[in-house]
């Protein structure tokens, strides 16, 4: 049975030790199969919010206190393995995510932690690498890949766990146009829900059904992509610009 809401966040607040509130009373939900863009200026709390979805920042560990639900499962200490199996997290810097010596070992890392049989692990690695267009890269060293390739290997590592939701932190940063286009194509084919934190607003227009605008740790606006990103006054107020695709010619 598919949950109505892939992601539900209700009045989530979070502060890193010794600093101001990074997230302040944030509430939203994402439907199954929906692609949502998370936009906002630097330091708005986008990465912090994404880390809550994967339980990497579990401030509330008991069921009664949690503010985050994934496929209607509350994110608690007990549910973390299940939550992490459902949410695939792509980190901003691929060097943080590629920690194994070879592409094969790195992509196999998640499936091995799922205790899958060896043949199934191999099959998932092959399929994931095929999905990101890197078949034949299995024995390549993770250190000797271009940035675009490293991002795609990271994504293959995420795909290999077969998540139902993708949480992507700046997936397009520092990519050249071809690598960016390839990545957009891969994400468009993903059947599940996605939440994409990015500064690349033109990609948001192309990829996302809906947008959440975060600034100063608060959710300032939420709505259809063109309505939010096309609102020049709103965008300017929060240190953003109307993307080129939506600017009047």
């Amino acid at each position: 049975m598919t949950a109505a809401n892939a992601v539900r966040v209700d009045r989530l607040s979070f502060r890193y030790p010794g600093s101001a509130l990074t997230l302040n009373d944030v509430s939203f939900s994402i439907a199954s199969g929906e692609i949502v863009g998370l936009v906002g200026p630097s330091g708005a709390g986008k990465s912090t919010l994404l880390q809550h979805l994967n339980g990497l920042l579990p401030t509330r560990l008991s069921e009664s206190e949690t503010n985050t639900w994934i496929d209607d499962i509350p994110v608690t200490r007990a549910s973390l393995p299940d939550v992490r199996r459902r949410v695939g997290f792509l980190f901003q810097d691929p060097d943080d995510q590629l920690f194994c010596p070879t592409v094969f070992e790195d992509v196999a890392f998640g499936p091995l932690n799922l205790n899958l049989p060896d043949d199934e692990v191999r099959r998932r690695v092959q399929e994931s690498l095929l999905a990101v267009g890197l078949s034949g890269y299995e024995s390549r060293s993770t250190m000797r890949l271009s940035l675009g390739e490293r991002k795609r290997v990271c994504l293959a590592g995420v795909f290999a766990c077969q998540p139902s939701i993708l949480a992507l932190d700046e997936p397009f940063s520092s990519l050249d146009p071809r690598a960016r286009r390839t990545l957009i194509g891969i994400l468009k084919k993903f059947p599940g829900s996605q939440i994409v934190a990015t500064h690349d607003l033109d990609v948001v227009v192309e990829l996302c059904h809906r947008v959440l605008l975060l600034d100063g740790g608060q959710l300032r606006a939420s709505g259809l992509t063109n309505d939010i990103l096309g609102n020049a006054a709103l965008m300017e107020r929060h240190g953003l610009e109307v993307p080129l695709r939506l600017q009047p010619r």
Binding site: R84, G88, F91, D95, F99, E105, G110, T142
Partner: protein, 220 residues
């Protein structure tokens, strides 16, 4: 920078074609011989050095490559060796210094040969076959992966400093700035370790490292 130590790891010389276990045993044998040979037995040490030189030649690893790596390895080794006469007395101390320098150099050049005839993933797979503890192997794998990431980070910091240096700094300033950079690198390394730990947990890691050989032929 990432191929600083194992630039020739995926070449196709005679040595590269040896089975992984043979390469590992040859390296272990040479290191064992180098560390067990007494410093007073000059001909024996010479014979071991010749054997190491021979396997390097067989693997077609250029002498200049080995020499340049030794140039980086020797300063800390010499520093450590030269401190011994100060603590152990001159006669015994110099003998120990010579032993450390000799054994260190022979062992280092052997280890350098090993990583240049065997890609690191193959080395790890071979060590796994020898049933080394998985924690130790995980540490090795992470060290190999992130050593060069940190090295590159240090390189970027050094470049950033140089573009804003408008005069040649004094030796004292160089030491001072070098120490500051190392301190900053340590903090960055800790931050990165935190993020890597997060990335591992995000993919279901719960403290136990699991391995799967990519191909059956790796297990030979």
């Amino acid at each position: 920078m990432s191929d600083y130590l194992d630039r020739f790891g995926r070449d196709q010389s005679t040595c590269h074609r040896w089975p992984p276990l043979v390469k590992l045993y040859v390296a272990m044998g040479l290191i064992l011989a180098a560390t067990c040979a007494p410093i007073t037995h000059g001909p024996l040490l010479g014979l071991i050095a010749c054997a190491i030189f021979f396997v390097h030649s067989l693997a077609r690893i250029p002498l200049a490559f080995v020499a340049r790596r030794l140039f980086f390895f020797w300063p800390p080794l010499f520093l450590m060796a030269l401190s011994l006469p100060l603590s152990q007395g001159c006669r015994a101390g110099w003998l120990m210094s010579a032993t450390i320098i000799c054994r260190g150099t022979l062992s280092f050049t052997t280890a350098l040969w090993l990583v240049n005839v065997m890609p690191f993933d193959q080395l790890l797979a071979t060590l796994r076959r020898l049933r080394l503890p998985s924690v130790f192997l995980a540490i090795l794998a992470l060290m190999y992966r992130f050593l060069f990431v940190l090295w590159d980070e240090l390189d970027r910091m050094r470049t950033a400093r140089q573009v804003r240096l408008f005069r040649k700094p004094s030796l004292w300033e160089q030491w001072q700035q070098g120490a500051q950079m190392l301190g900053r690198l340590l903090i960055r390394a800790l931050d990165r370790a935190d993020r890597v730990h997060g990335a591992m947990m995000a993919r279901g890691w719960q403290g136990e490292t699991r391995w799967l050989e990519q191909r059956q032929k790796d297990q030979r």
